[in-house]
């Protein structure tokens, strides 16, 4: 019986493992027809909720004038989600002073009360935070009157 040198067995094991890992990578890919379309956001297939928020905040960026103050809320209110949306808004609405409506999963009303524009992700809130500037199925943007 032929005896293979052990380093060769080691290399063979590595190559077989590499083939398996490659197959797993290919299996993880989205369906073929999805791969043919460029995504609208960096989260289209990985995190649909983040993708929706990304799209809506890009829209909000177009309706909020530069230099204004703004905050992002959700409907219904969710401190954990609003904390991460604050981070997303910093990335997607540059040139405005963004203040958090929640940080580290704790509401921060003392900060969000100061802003002129309120971005609400989700359905229209029962208590309107100002006058409506923009509405679409993903959310609404509101402008508060200056005090």
């Amino acid at each position: 019986m032929t005896r293979f040198p052990r380093p060769r067995v080691r290399l063979f094991a590595l190559l077989v493992g590499a083939i398996f890992m490659t197959l797993m990578s290919v299996r993880k890919l989205s369906p073929f027809r999805d791969l043919l379309h460029l995504p609208a956001t960096p989260f289209d297939r990985g995190d649909p909720a983040a993708a929706a928020a990304f799209l809506f905040l890009q829209t909000a960026e177009r309706v909020i004038p530069p230099g204004e103050t703004a905050t992002v809320m959700t409907e219904p209110r969710d401190a954990a989600r609003e904390s991460s949306l604050f981070g997303l808004s910093i990335a997607l609405i540059p040139g405005r002073r963004l203040l958090p409506s929640a940080q580290w999963s704790v509401f921060t009303p003392e900060l969000s009360a100061e802003v002129r524009y309120v971005i609400v992700l989700g359905p229209r809130p029962a208590t309107e935070p100002g006058s409506l500037v923009h509405a679409d199925p993903l959310g609404t943007v509101w402008r508060r009157e200056r005090r």
């Binding site: 590595l14 190559l15 490659t22 997303l88």
Partner: protein
């Protein structure tokens, strides 16, 4: 779309910036493709360091000046190597055997899978939008590392103390392209993976047979592609860190007897790892010290001189960043989850269990289990293998230890363990081919 392409194309200045060093004839033995990729890595490190230095000295970033300034620094580094006789060029090999064709196909298909995962937005890291991207945009707008932005108390979640290589690189691309591109930033994952796939065979070839070099490269790329897709690393700093770490350890093991060139190159790549992410620094300390202890004197180096070449560049880049922190932000060092020595030892069993569970989600842990099994099949009897194996061991213990801080670690482990432990897989793969030149009877002995 156009600005996205421009954003990515701007990365082409890095190989140009790094060529003054990699153009040295001593590196010819690595082959042209590997030299070009290494030049990109070295250029990226030099340019982004020059960006931090210019902020320290209150100069605003001018891309037209940053690249020549980096080239001057690297010409200085080249002078350290001095004139050397031309090394033997890589011998043109025989025709590829089926074993090697399979390895090349694995590299190609894994790279394609990573590219498709990135272009279809299914591997994007949330950290890209939470801090790497916003920091880059702020830095590009300020034309410098923006101290006011980093000190904003509302933006503490953006980790002001994280080293600046990736935000600086993204900011430079933003300045050159005219705007930041999210999808282009996501493409850095496959871009660097492809660069690694092109660089590794030539580097491994310096110290193991051609088929071992190709198999090891294939295994590293397949492992990182799977890890990247599973733990969503596209767009964040992990692929930069992994690229520098893998290149550094591969170059280090190929250090020629008494030659400074590989040691200096590893030292610069170590500096890149330490400037890419906080986890880079323990890697540099572990791998650097283990090399000095186990291999330096065997390869004819005096330890202090070898330490200066290997760890000096890291000491310089870390000192520059800490100086910036101290002078502009009023803090020193990296953020932590509590006093370092106050670990909650009672949760150690839970931490190990949760980490193992987190790692199992990438192909039932195959990226880590495979090289462990390969090493168990036949333990390499070479000191070269000890450096990556012990580095992997030290890092594993260190990372587990860090999880013993800051209360309940379950959330932290679930979102970070796969990325943080990613480096262990290529380290063990490298170890499993270390020393194969003399062990494997079929290897061509005449190769450089």
């Amino acid at each position: 779309m156009r600005s996205g392409f421009l954003w990515l194309l701007s990365f082409l200045i890095f190989p140009l910036a790094g060529w003054p060093l990699l153009g040295h004839p001593i590196y010819r033995r690595l082959g042209f493709v590997s030299r070009l990729m290494l030049s990109g890595a070295v250029g990226c490190i030099a340019v982004t360091t020059a960006m931090t230095v210019s902020t320290v000295f209150h100069f605003s970033w001018q891309p037209a000046l940053l690249v020549p300034a980096s080239m001057v620094i690297l010409i200085g580094a080249r002078l350290l190597i001095g004139l050397t006789p031309d090394p033997p060029r890589p011998r043109r090999g025989d025709r590829f055997r089926y074993f090697e064709w399979i390895a090349l196909s694995v590299i190609f298909i894994s790279s394609c899978a990573a590219t498709l995962a990135a272009t279809s937005a299914s591997a994007t890291s949330a950290d890209l939008v939470l801090f790497w991207g916003p920091k880059a945009m702020a830095f590009a707008k300020a034309r410098g590392v923006d101290a006011a932005y980093l000190s904003d108390p509302l933006l503490r979640y953006q980790h002001f103390s994280y080293p600046p290589l990736v935000p600086n690189a993204y900011a430079l691309a933003t300045l050159l392209a005219g705007r930041f591109s999210w999808l282009a930033a996501v493409m850095t994952f496959p871009l660097l993976l492809v660069a690694l796939g092109l660089a590794l065979p030539g580097i491994f070839r310096g110290w193991c047979s051609r088929h071992a070099a190709l198999v090891a490269s294939a295994c590293v790329i397949a492992s990182l592609a799977l890890i990247g897709q599973t733990y969503l690393i596209a767009g964040n700093a992990d692929i930069f860190l992994l690229t520098f770490e893998v290149l550094a350890i591969a170059v280090l093991l190929g250090t020629e007897r008494g030659g400074k060139a590989s040691l200096l190159l590893s030292g610069i790549l170590f500096a890149g790892a330490a400037s890419a992410k906080v986890e880079g620094l323990p890697f540099v300390v572990a791998a650097g010290l283990l090399f000095l202890l186990l291999l330096a004197s065997r390869r004819g180096f005096r330890r202090p001189a070898a330490a200066a070449l290997l760890l000096g560049p890291t000491a310089i880049v870390v000192a520059i960043w800490f100086f910036f922190e101290k002078s502009r932000l009023g803090v020193l060092g990296y953020e932590s989850y509590g006093p370092f020595l106050e670990a909650d030892w009672r949760s150690s069993g839970r931490v190990v269990w949760m980490t193992a569970r987190a790692l199992a989600s990438a192909g039932v842990g195959l990226p880590w289990m495979l090289p462990v099994a390969a090493l168990a099949v036949s333990v390499p009897r070479k000191r070269e293998a000890l450096v990556p194996v012990l580095t992997a061991f030290v890092l594993t213990v260190f990372f587990l230890f860090t999880y013993l801080h800051g209360g309940d670690p379950s959330l932290l482990i679930s979102w970070s363990a796969g990325r943080i432990f990613a480096v262990i897989s290529p380290l063990l793969i490298v170890a499993s081919v270390a020393g194969l030149k003399s062990e494997c009877p079929s290897v061509e002995a005449a190769d450089p």
